[in-house]
């Protein structure tokens, strides 16, 4: 082991062999290609873009129920509520439109992004609360209700637009955040010793108890979701925290930097796949 470390150190010093050390580091673009190829290879009948429909892309019986559900979708009320909140002026007369590029319409596919000034990942949910706080309003609960409603509306105005997440090459901190997100995604945790990947990479389409597991690819494109299991809407924050709980891990705080990093990584993996949120899920 010590010998190997020495070799690597020598290699790095040697300069020309730098490429070998680099190979162990992430190339987000290469990761993304491999990630998408894994899923299209595992499910050759599912078109790439259809992965945004989660378990419905890989189970005929479920798909039929979903299509019927979409004729009058359960997230309809949240969507209307979100539109109302989005357009309602704050006490200072400003609105969400003043906080976002393009007045907040059709931009969901660009979140999360890496903020060069603060060196942190900014998710859409964080940006929504930052907007509220900047304008002297109380921030929303990250898990559901108003946050789910506003992000539902913002996703809705962005439907069909492909995820366009960037890991700026000129900022090593961005790659670091991406790397951390990747590690969180693959690292097993909780008493059940599961990682995100254990379920959503290795077993999508399979049943765990009664549930058909969603593929990790495209899982965030449909957020926020109305989940029958929840009897209501939930955000990405809710999705992550509930996954932790289900493997008997104590969830981190919503929008903890770790969760933001995972969202960054996972959204990047879905680059090119269209936003489909808000979604309905079992």
């Amino acid at each position: 082991m010590r010998g190997l470390a020495l070799l690597v150190a020598l290699g790095m010093l040697a300069g020309p062999q730098l490429a070998r050390a680099e190979a162990t580091k992430s190339s987000p673009e290469k990761d993304m290609k491999a990630f998408q190829a894994y899923f299209t290879h595992k499910f050759p009948k599912v078109p790439l873009k259809d992965f945004v429909n989660g378990p419905y892309s890989m189970n005929e019986g479920l798909r039929k129920q979903w299509i019927e559900k979409e004729t009058f979708p359960p997230y309809d009320f949240a969507l209307d509520h979100g539109k109302e909140l989005f357009n309602k002026p704050f006490k200072n007369g400003k609105t969400f439109a003043d906080c976002f590029p393009n007045k907040g319409i059709g931009i969901r596919q660009n979140y999360p992004y890496f903020d060069d000034k603060t060196n942190e990942v900014i998710t859409l949910e964080v940006a929504v609360n930052q907007c509220l706080e900047k304008n002297g309003e109380k921030p929303y609960n990250y898990m559901k209700d108003d946050m789910a409603a506003v992000t539902a509306y913002m996703a809705f105005t962005s439907r069909g637009k492909p995820f366009n997440i960037k890991v700026p090459k000129n900022n090593p901190k961005a790659l670091e955040a991406y790397e951390k997100g990747k590690q969180y995604f693959y690292q097993r945790r909780g008493q059940f010793n599961f990682s995100c990947a254990s379920c959503h990479v290795q077993e999508p389409g399979e049943h765990i108890r009664a549930e058909v597991l969603a593929p990790a690819l495209g899982i965030l494109n449909a957020m926020p979701i109305y989940r029958s299991e929840w009897g209501g809407m939930g955000t990405i924050s809710r999705r992550f925290t509930s996954c932790n709980s289900q493997v008997r891990g104590v969830p981190l705080k919503p929008q903890d930097p770790e969760y933001r990093n995972v969202e960054y990584y996972l959204s990047y993996m879905a680059n090119g796949l269209p936003i489909s949120g808000p979604g309905a899920r079992p």
Partner: protein, 103 residues
């Protein structure tokens, strides 16, 4: 306050198809909350659909109808621009009504 009732009524050649979604918890009375206390039954009992002074459909619902209930039916006649009035009443006496235009 937005209406609790969403309606889509579309006139076809000789029938009108109505779909409605109502925002309501539809608590069954069999579910416990986080503290282990039974959440009392709270559900819509009747929904009435009227057009042209005539009731075209009545739903009688028990607690086994899903949360935010959905219903779809069709009736003969009805044309674009006609009013369709929907009224629900729940077991606690709450009620809401809305009038939608047939599309």
């Amino acid at each position: 306050m937005a209406s609790t009732i969403r309606v889509r009524a579309i006139a076809g050649a000789d029938t009108t198809e109505v779909q409605a979604l109502v925002q309501h918890p539809m608590d069954s009375g069999f579910v416990k909350n986080a503290k282990g206390e039974i959440i009392p039954a709270h559900h819509i009992e009747t929904v009435q659909f009227e057009t042209g002074g005539k009731t075209v459909f009545t739903a009688l619902w028990g607690p086994a109808v899903s949360k935010d209930p959905f219903v779809k039916f069709s009736f003969k006649g009805g044309k674009k621009g006609d009013d369709l009035k929907i009224t629900w009443v729940d077991n606690k006496g709450a009620t809401d009504t809305t009038t939608a235009k047939i599309m």
